[in-house]
Amino acid sequence: MNFSDILTMRHELMLTVLALVVLIIDLNLHNRDKHLIIPITLSLFFIHTVIGFLPSQPSILFGGMYRTNALLVMMKNILNIGVLIILLQSVTWLKKEENREKISEYFILLFSTLIGMNFMISSGDFLMFYLGLELATIPIAALAAYTHHQTKSAEAGIKLLLSSALSSGILLFGISLIYGSTGSIYFDAVVQQYANTPLQILAFIFFFTGMAFKLSLVPFHLWTADVYEGAPINVTSYLSVISKGAAAFILIILMFTVFNTIAPIYNHMLYLIAVLTMTIGNLFALRQKNMKRFLAFSSIAQAGFILLGIMGGNTMGMTSVIYFVLVYIFSNLGAFGVVSAISTVTGKESMDDYDGLYATNPKLSLLMMLALFSLAGIPPVAGFFGKFFLFQSAASAGYYWLVFIAVLNATASLYYYLLVVKAMFINKNETPLIYIKSDLATRTGLVLSGLGIFVLGFWSQIYEIINSLSFGIIH
């Protein structure tokens, strides 16, 4: 192991160093100065994000357990940008009185999960993959119970921990079956041995179940609404965007490389799950009044769309998935950012409280509208492009009826997104929410989300860069 190897692992190493630095600073600060951690951590994380964009060499470490190339680095960078926006949005909430004691814990736990996700993406065998997955899951459960004196938050934490444990167990069982039938846990070796034997298909199903849990696909979505509602808003943002995004990334890589031989078989399964996920996500979102639950169900439906890209099976498929996750990060963080800004100041989370919001908070309402339009897939914002390219990749594999069902679901989702727009712009309210003055960090986060929503669609260069790094199913 030499210096260039250390450089290869820079994402994970920098994050570890960052977490340790936060811990050390926290130990040395007096209680009244604890809030200083926030700007320090934010700047360090910003530096980490920037360094992440520096060019790197593809390489393999630890005998094949860890690998990195331009595609994986790009995925990690996308996640970094998302986490940066979430950190910006968390600032106001962290400065609140009840959270002052636990500021550094928040950052350390968050960075731990991010390290886990980075390892998961960079894994070269199932062991590293599982380690990364566990490292990504357990601190999140602690984060979900961050405000543990509120019963809902504690409930969310326990639910997440237990459900994750069960799904991890099933996933591990799948991995053990893979090892048993192929004789190896290294991806490169497994793919050579993988055929359509029933045992291996069963192993894949168990494995997929574990991943489907993280992606909140139906029927593994039951934890989503309660956990999203109970956890603090910024943890919910993280779960809905980064956790899902990382799972989508690693899933598509594995399905295109390790499990490529059973592609015709898993496509049937994905078809059914995609239809179920989009439909049920939409159906349940229709009736939600709590904004966090509302966005939870909407993100379940969005995950269904990601499956369409996977079914494309070609370069266009992978590119559209990565691009969609990027756009989804900005759109969802835009929506969550507005909800967070409002909830942190006023504590109100219900859609009824948003009535007449345009009168007092025009900019917040406009950003929310743009974010919702992006989630619905309406031009000219980026969500339109993201969805269109996903549909294009599914159509390239001939799944026209699936595309039709998907687009109808997108239209149905427009209905409930418009309900929020209706509340903000059309419904009359005698007492709308007061004008919410956001501090610099929140405003920066919101502006970043808004910029992303607008620019990502028209700036085709980004899509082309992703496309140059992606690959289709390797036959």
Binding site: M316, I378, Y400, L414, V421, S460
Partner: protein
Amino acid sequence: MNILNLFVIIPMLTVGGILLTKDLKQARLVSAIGMGMQLILSGVLVYLYLAERSAGNTSTLLFMYDAVWFPSLGIHYALGVDGISVAMIALTGIVVFAGIFASWKMEFLPREFFISLIILATGVFGFFISIDLFTMFLFYELAVIPMYLLIGIWGTGPKEYSAMKLTLMLMAGSAMLLVGILGIYFFSAPAGSPLTFNIMEISKVHIPIEMQRFLFPFTFVGFGILGALFPFHTWSPDGHASAPTAVSMLHAGVLMKLGGYGAFRVAIFLMPEAAHEQAWIFLILTSISVVYGAFSAIVQKDLKYINAYSSVSHCGLVLFAVLMMNQTAMNGAIIQMISHGLMTALFFALIGMIYGRTHTRLINEMGGLMKVIPFLGAVYVIAGLASLGLPGFSGFVAEMTIFVGAYQHTDVFHRVMTIIAASSIVITAVYILRVVGILLLGPIKNDHFLHLDDAKWYERISTVTLVLAITAIGTAPLWLSNMINFSLAPIVERLSAIQITGLF
């Protein structure tokens, strides 16, 4: 700078300008200037187009502009116009201009109103100038979404319901359209060549007939929902009735023409074999639109609903004519698009002006208005006569051409459909004259109406613009007809080649 790019840049600059204004007066001034420039630009485009043609330029599309956008997906930002597009752009320019003046007194959130209106206009202009399917689709959806805000915030009556119904149904139409477009894309080149979204490129390729049979209904119905195809027209009456004046003008006048134009330019042009095979189904549906829309208009009591159903009927006629797929009928279809666009814009403008004075839209509560507001009354009569097809106005030219063209088909089915559709002329006369009689003539029902003001200067601008356009087309239609005919020729050639050589 390509002239076509200006059609999108000027509205965007206008929106930017409105963002800097502070109140109604400034907002409407900026909008009027912006859309006035757009109208002049449309006129310039018509002039330049005719100049190019008379100079001997015979290429299918003029003023082309192509910028690669997403190379790996074959998406280009491709623009180009032919005679038909130019005519539609001129229509849009006139109607948008008239619409701005019809909203001169919009007191509630004026800046947001004008911004949404102009974004709507941008979507429409962009749709007419694009020749890349992705770009067309982007502008098409862009034109639908401001409708929700415009009707929901500034509308009347059951506005939230109407706005939601309209938006969802039109989006469902886009859903079907998306499937069609993607299908066309993946068959846009023979195996091995790069795929493309460009309409002209695709028109040179033969899409396999099985795919055409699958894609044509999706595409045609997708556009047809916007073009008031029965039974998907149900968004239209509530949508138009609840919308504010300028929005109804724009929507019935221009947006519904997107449906007709799209059905013709994308569905029939790119999939002619399937169009021939399946035309009979849609002919039945459109004939029902035409007749049912007209009958429904007879029983309405609310002025806006009458006009909304009338729009269903006339736009159905556009689709009817387009499905006839011969030179004369398609020519008539396009003239009908322009003629009806102008007429219905005029009607909605007038209804808005009358409502602003009498505060009722129910015809039974009004009467004898000709004595009180003679200018508006006279213009209403003109609009009515144009709508029922009086020679001298554009309605006659359009309907005459359509029915002559439709009757050129010698088989029983087409002729029966033509006769059924032509019966709508009589039904239209019934509801138009009835309304004119009850509304404008006879005794004055309400004493408050004795002191109504006649049209103000901005209302006169709005209405006179439209009347002039209608009369110009009605009395001297040949310049328009020739412009359209020239651009129709290659399309009709493609359609009749299919008919002669048969399906292969």
